[in-house]
Amino acid sequence: MAAGRGSNGPQTLTFTACSRAGRGRSFPSQVFQMHHLFQITSRRRFLSTAATLLAAGPAMAAAGQQTPAQPALDPRQVVVKLFGAGVGSLDSYGTGILVSPQGHVLTIANHLVSTGFLTAVTADGRRWPVETLATSTEHDAAIVRIQARPEDMFPFLDLQQAVDVEPGTPVLAWSNMFRVAAGNEPVSVVHGVIAAAVPLEASQGRWKFPVKTPVWILDAITNNSGAGGGLVVDEAGRPVGLIGREIRHDRSRIWVNYAVPLTALRPAVTAMLEGRRVTPSAATADAAPLMSDRDLTARFGLTLLPAVVERTPAWVDAVTPDSPAARAGIQRGDLILLVGDSVITSVTDVRRQMTSAVPGRELSVTVNRDNQLIALKLAVPPSPRK
């Protein structure tokens, strides 16, 4: 990896003044300094203090006082660790960013969010159940919410503070990578530089990266287990991006280290916070003809709920005796979560997966049955003669 710390931008202070006497320069000191402020306050007071400080950020930014001496936030306080259901080769952990004092968390719309069973660990080490509020497939983003009591207040990142930066900007990336910090320890931080802003053509298996606007390419290694949903900040601690998935670039096949600009996510987040569904645009819709419900029943012996609403959950309505589905052990009432490594969010997803299933192969199917994850093997029957 290039050691690349570019020359400091115009808004950089002389950091030596900020570091502790006799020590090396901490990078970047003011982002870390906040930490000491928090330590001396009681938890409840600390939370409200943090929230106040964070909320004060945009006002200062708006007034044009963008000096690093007034740090916008301590990333450690707003980045949460997510733990959920990992199936097959997919990780059981990830990262999210608190974006409201009520505990709304921004993360990427990956399998963790889709399969549910999520737990969030906040910076103070507390563990919380989490519910999924909304996802935006077009932005590959999701909003989940910590199920807190009404009086619980969280330090949060105000997305209005998000800034666009130029390539060459030194950044820090905070995440739950490799689940190194499993308990109440702070999340991991790596350093790097924004290498470029480019539209990204990348994929993960059959899944295509949907964001069409340019994303930040980082020269830090952020393409790591569990790092997705983490926070990228600039040297002044201003929020810049949401760390993306573990995906490969389509042409080069290298693992891409990228982050989606938070400024580009703002409208979608606002919509999701308001509870509006962000519908996928036509560009991301799959044009291939899908297997019909009737064919699904005839070939696989699998009858799902009829797709009456846009994203009907993939509940199994019936299983034909002695069919491939029955032999696989699928039962009425199962909720299909994964087919292969692909996350299933609707009956349409199942039909899409079955359409492309190779006859003679075995498909792994993961279902939720009575709140238990059960992995099953489904033999794909031969194609019917046309």
Binding site: T14, F27, G183, N184, V189
Partner: protein
């Protein structure tokens, strides 16, 4: 394929620069100052690297194959590396320094659980040594430099330097499929690759803060992933003197377990009823507040602190239960008790070079070495290299025996006149120590203990173990060391409650295990902790102010440590006489 993509990025950079040129540049500000600052820091970095690079060692098997890294820590050639680097290299190694020269080296001590090894480079008395910093004050964001020999790139042994920041501190890395356990370690984003193992991590000012040993490798294979882990220098230093004694150093264990409770607490779940902790009153459900001086908020915290201590150390702890807040010290018991250097799973051992060369042979052909080198390695069960234990034993025992011999006839009877502080006031007492018995007469009461077969019932209730401990002292001063079934030097430890770092010599006599503590000032032990029964507390004595009286070396006062209160009661030695048989 990779080039294609990099090319696309470069092209974009050019386009963006063109945009700037066309006037859409961000507002121009003074960029002069940061550039000067950056150049100054670059200059400082270069100077620091010139200073620290000579201490970095390239560790190879004696055949010259394979390779890991290490760091010199003393001018006489002691160097620290990873256990998984030296394991498999045999007892003798070759070490390259950045002056291009290769030195012979011999294994000294190992800490298999902590993945640390100490080796001795030979042939110079002016080796350049790294200066340790304080890894406890390292924090996320600090700049760091990792030095070593990744991919065995440097044929002239000048180390490769990678730069990064501290990504997290006090990380715990589970002993995955092995016994190597990284506790309280430093997580960095500097590139760590095969061959970096055992090499030093420095802070940006060139102070040695850790040993790079492990990384999270995943889908990219065994190359840098931006998450590597360094053993903290404070942990290494805590084990260092034990390693110097040629030991297979074990980590400590407590005889109770801890779980994470609600609201960020560490809660005791089980306590062995035979343990010191149980005798101090620790019970399940108690909230463990501090351990070894660090406050705890989870079981992870506890595991992290515990893992940085060697077996045998005495550590303080505090806890809270329904009756209030309590404190005590407990001795850590052995975790693994390895009798031989344990085998590592294949992939943890020294990593093959970039060409995938085969693993070197387990043992080097020691017969081909010159005699003066072969003498530096003595194999013995339970030790890494017994030669270095002998060195320390001699250093501790020779002055002791020389001075004790002045006491004359080993069959003589020693009589010590004591003043014992009783509630009624200071009371005279008489202590009689012969070759076979220790007796105490205090007013109308008297106790007589056999040295060879002591019984707990024969100890004075106010000072349990006192007589047995003094019997062991008599045996230690006896020029004939064959009375002990085992003697070994056990490094140094922080003595509590004296709160001094002292050298330790362990003697075993039947079931009686004594830990003798020595400082550098005198020949005689300044304290002893004697374990003489599994169910009873140790007898812990402080032996203060040694002086010769009538030719007999005696402490001028004997302190008895109360294990419940950790307070010392002083028994004054008024006079001492030697009676010939």
């Amino acid at each position: 394929m990779r080039l294609v993509f990099t090319g696309a990025v470069l092209l974009l950079f050019k386009l963006l620069q063109a945009d700037y040129a066309s006037g859409q540049q961000p507002p121009a500000t003074s960029v002069g100052a940061p550039v000067v600052d950056a150049r100054m820091r670059e200059q400082q970095r270069v100077e620091v690297l010139q200073r620290i690079a000579p201490s970095v060692v390239c560790v190879m098997a004696s055949s010259g194959e394979g390779g890991g890294s290490g760091v010199l820590i003393s001018s006489d050639g002691l160097a620290v590396s990873n256990y998984h680097v030296t394991s498999g290299s045999g007892s003798f190694m070759k070490c390259g320094l950045n002056n291009g020269r290769v030195y012979d080296a011999v294994i000294v001590g190992i800490d298999p659980t902590g993945d640390v090894a100490l080796i001795q480079l030979l042939g110079r008395t002016d080796f350049p040594a790294a200066i340790p910093g304080d890894s406890d004050i390292v924090q996320a964001g600090d700049e760091v430099l990792a030095l070593g020999n990744p991919f065995l790139l440097a044929s002239d042994f000048s180390p490769t330097v990678t730069y990064g920041i501290v990504s997290g501190v006090r990380r715990y890395q589970y002993p995955a499929n092995t016994f190597l356990e990284y506790t309280d370690c430093i997580q960095i984003d500097a590139s760590i690759n095969p061959g970096n193992s055992g090499g030093p991590l420095f802070d940006i000012q060139g102070r040695w803060i850790g040993i790079n040993g492990r990384a999270s490798f995943e889908k990219r294979g065994r190359v840098n992933s931006g998450a590597a882990y360094a053993i903290s220098v404070n942990q290494v230093l805590r084990f260092l003197d034990s390693l110097r004694c040629g030991l297979i150093v074990d980590h400590g264990r407590t005889e109770f377990t801890v779980e994470t409770g609600e609201n960020n607490t560490a809660v005791v779940s089980q306590v062995s009823q035979l343990s010191e902790a149980w005798r101090r009153g620790l019970r399940p459900q108690a909230e463990l507040l501090t351990f070894a001086g660090r406050s705890l908020t989870s079981a992870n915290d506890f595991q992290n602190v515990l893992g940085t201590f060697p077996e045998g150390d005495r550590v303080p702890m505090t806890w809270r239960d329904s009756t209030g807040r309590h404190s005590a010290t407990i001795r850590l018991t052995p975790l693994h008790s390895f009798r031989k250097a344990p085998e590592l799973p294949q992939e943890r051992r020294r990593r093959p070079g970039p060409d995938g060369e085969p693993e070197p042979q387990q043992k080097s052909d020691a017969d081909q070495l010159p005699e003066e080198m072969r003498r530096l390695y003595v194999e013995r069960d339970g030790f890494c290299n017994f030669h270095f234990n002998q060195l320390r034993q001699t250093a501790l025992l020779e002055p002791l025996r020389n001075q004790a011999a002045a006491a004359g006839d080993p069959a003589a009877v020693w009589t010590l006149n004591l003043q014992i502080p009783l509630p009624a006031g200071n009371t005279p007492a008489e202590l009689v120590i012969s070759q076979e018995t220790v007796g105490l007469r205090l007013g109308p009461s008297a106790w007589l203990q056999k040295i060879s077969q002591p019984e707990a019932a024969e100890e004075p209730p106010a000072y349990p173990g006192l007589l047995t401990a003094l019997g062991q002292l008599r045996r230690l001063l006896n020029p004939d060391s064959s009375v002990f079934s085992e003697i070994l030097a056990a490094g140094s430890t922080r003595h509590l409650p004296l709160n001094r770092t002292l050298k330790v010599l362990i003697t075993r006599d039947g079931i009686r295990t004594a830990r003798w503590y020595f400082d550098d000032a005198g020949a005689f032990p300044v304290a002893v902790d004697l374990s003489y029964s599994a169910e009873l507390d140790e007898a812990r004595l402080v032996l203060d102010g040694w002086q010769a009286r009538n030719g007999l070396p005696t402490p001028s006062r004997i302190g008895v440590i109360d294990s419940t209160s950790e307070e010392i009661t002083w028994l004054q030695v008024e006079a001492a006489t030697v009676r010939k048989p």
